[in-house]
């Protein structure tokens, strides 16, 4: 499994998903990856559903909007398209019907069980508009 998910795996096609970290979270995510304790499951408390939210591959604009409030940049995680289709595409849900052209935008609701898959890929921290790379982690902890 881990060999298959190795970030050194070459792929002609990649997919990038995006997350605007909440205030104070970007360093944690970059240093330690995305972990269950960051997304607690507390069924009696609204907003703690145990899911890690990402903007879909074509919908960086969602992360950009949150970034405007959070001011922590946008984390981009890039993976091969095969892995995306196998693990993450089934998690896509409609975020809204807006977007620049009035089309649907999608987000990913990633459960705890797939965070290790997510963490197997390189990630970078970019400015909200994506114009500047602030930090990049290409070596992933095994």
């Amino acid at each position: 499994m881990m060999d298959r998910l190795s970030p050194s795996m070459t792929s002609t096609t990649s997919v990038t998903i995006y997350k605007a970290p909440q205030p104070g979270k970007s360093k944690t995510f970059l240093a330690n990856g995305f972990n269950p304790e960051d997304f607690p499951y507390l069924p009696d408390q609204p907003g703690h559903n145990g899911l890690c939210y990402f903007a879909g591959p074509n919908d960086r604009s969602i992360a950009e909007e949150y970034c405007l409030s959070y001011q922590e940049g946008v984390i981009a995680v890039t993976m091969d398209v095969e892995t995306y289709q196998l693990y993450f595409e089934p998690l896509e849900v409609r975020y809204d019907r807006r977007g620049h052209l009035g089309c649907e935008r999608k987000e990913l609701l990633i459960p705890h069980s797939l965070l290790n898959v997510l963490n197997a890929f390189p990630k970078s921290l970019q400015t909200c508009d994506g114009s500047t790379l602030l930090f990049s982690i290409t070596e992933v902890k095994p």
Binding site: Q22, G47, Y66, L68, S69, Y95, D96, R98
Partner: protein
Amino acid sequence: MNQQDWETIQSKYPVGQLIQGTVIQHMPFGVFIDIGEAGVLGLVRIVDFLDEGRMTPDRYPELGKKIAAIVYEYGLVEDPQIHLNAKPSALHEFLVPLRGERLTSTV
């Protein structure tokens, strides 16, 4: 809640409807609204308060405050939430539906 009940709720609160509720919880990503439906919460995400500029949690309506917003999306049956738009443009469009081209495509 099962899928059928969730669809019933969605029919009761269709996209574009103005609903009122009480702010019951602040979160970094938005505020939860009690809309008076057991097992269902309204959610105004932090990005859905302003048309322009930076929204921050310190500007959220106070807990216990009654607010109105426009239905524009639904969450999953596992976590049933009605997503609400509280942007001035959306509220204005509902309250004063001008003829001709719409300013927003939300509702």
